[in-house]
Symmetry: C2
Subunit: 290 residues, 2 copies
Amino acid sequence: MRKLPPLRALQVFETAARQQHFSKAAAELCITQSAVSHQVRVLEEYFGEQLFDRQGRKLQLTPKGQSLFIELERIFNELSDLNLKIRDTPNQQLCLAVYSSFAVKWLIPRLADFRRQYPSVKIRLEMITQDPDLSTSTADIFIAGKLNQRGYWQQLLHKERLIPVCSPSFYPKWRDINLSNFQQQALLIVDEGQLGLDWHKWSSAHQIPLNNEQQHIFSHIVMAIEAAIAGQGLALAPDFMVAGDISTGRLVAVNLPDVHTGFEFSFICKQRRLAEPAIAAFSSWLKSQA
Amino acid sequence: MRKLPPLRALQVFETAARQQHFSKAAAELCITQSAVSHQVRVLEEYFGEQLFDRQGRKLQLTPKGQSLFIELERIFNELSDLNLKIRDTPNQQLCLAVYSSFAVKWLIPRLADFRRQYPSVKIRLEMITQDPDLSTSTADIFIAGKLNQRGYWQQLLHKERLIPVCSPSFYPKWRDINLSNFQQQALLIVDEGQLGLDWHKWSSAHQIPLNNEQQHIFSHIVMAIEAAIAGQGLALAPDFMVAGDISTGRLVAVNLPDVHTGFEFSFICKQRRLAEPAIAAFSSWLKSQA
DNA sequence: CATACTAGATGAATTAAATTCATACTAAAT
DNA sequence: ATTTAGTATGAATTTAATTCATCTAGTATG
């Protein structure tokens, strides 16, 4: 809940300050000089400060009046630009560049909802497997690792946390799996995990050796998850990717420690494009999904 | 003359968008739900665009509504900060760092006018003889050569132009001085002219040799001008510095070419301090003097 | 399946804010 | 000293904002 100064009075004051003349301001606003005088007084009473020095026929801003004017001129310029910004309909098409795993297991299942809420925005989805080169990419929006680049807006979506999962059919007494019998289980390992997804990270984080006899290796986390669903072993998967499968009972979280990789999925786009209708819509929808 | 959207409607819309709820917005604004609905409609008619999607009891911003909201939230935050910015009275004392020649011959004579107009602002004047180190100086405002540094605001005050002048008593037929008899005249030369003030520059610009027999050398332009007033020879002086002496008849501009040194006097201060009352006042006064 | 409930929409009536009108005031210019 | 160009002011008026009473359409409930 915010407290704003009287807006009409600000507008009239800004005009008067710009014109340095109440009567000219009145002409610009198509009102009388009297109305200008009244509104300026309203503002002076609101701030409890003289804004103009009236020395006879010379009208002069006080230091505080000047200061206020400088801010207001900029702000009202922005307000008058809103007209254009809103009516121009730039690009109701959005090109998203998204990490493939995030796309498949998180974004795509939810995208239908976005399309329903904003049918006018057409989405084109581009998958990436490594941090994008912002300067050369043609995408409007990225969902990738955090990268601090000047002029870009980013918002944290998710901190990656890996949890061990398996199919309830893989090991009927899956609730009994624990550190002491862990090494008897088959492991579903992701190699070439540019996101730091794998059992080796888990192993060194918890100082548990990986002596498991059975180790199946996949090139992508999505395949490891599918293998887990098919009951082929224990996978180490980002929590958000398997939340759906867990709630439908296709996977279960086993009683083994999790691990934070430090990787963060972020929404990234050019700062100055943030208020474009399509981008604003997508950004707000993303926030509502978190 | 600018055209602004209906301000009250913007304010009500911003609250409604932030709350995602007309009734809550109404509560925040201490008005009824009906009033919110009316104002939102006013704005929608003004822009000719749907801003909210009303799907039954769910209220949802459209892409354009989102876009508008993002801009307005920022703008109204700034407006609500005005309160503090105006009431806080930071530093009604200003420290100016000014090139010595500009200070003596331009600023000081006019400073009385500034003091009369803004008696609440106390000025402390510091002279400099070379470009200031912005990062270490304690001055609030600089008047110096143009220097492009990020985060600093600058405004061009004057492009230096040198004109040859002398006292009317120095050479009674001063109107007859021209290029053919120039070398018979005594020259008042400024050495160590970090501003590029001197006859040598003039000489090479116009390809005129300086074979004058009498040459008096000074370490500062102000002294050369005083010598010219005393009738000791021809000085080459910045036009703005001698305008006063010329109008009172103490000096005359002789019929010889002028020269632009390329040096520019600029008003410089930290961008983010521009709206401080004292700085805003000085900046606006400077503009009025140009 | 009817019924109550929640949240917004709407049109006429009302209230509050902004503006005008008529006139007073003031410093500067003539 | 008088005119002039500008702002100030209080009461009257107009316009814009708000309320009130009622309506509508989804949602939830027993």
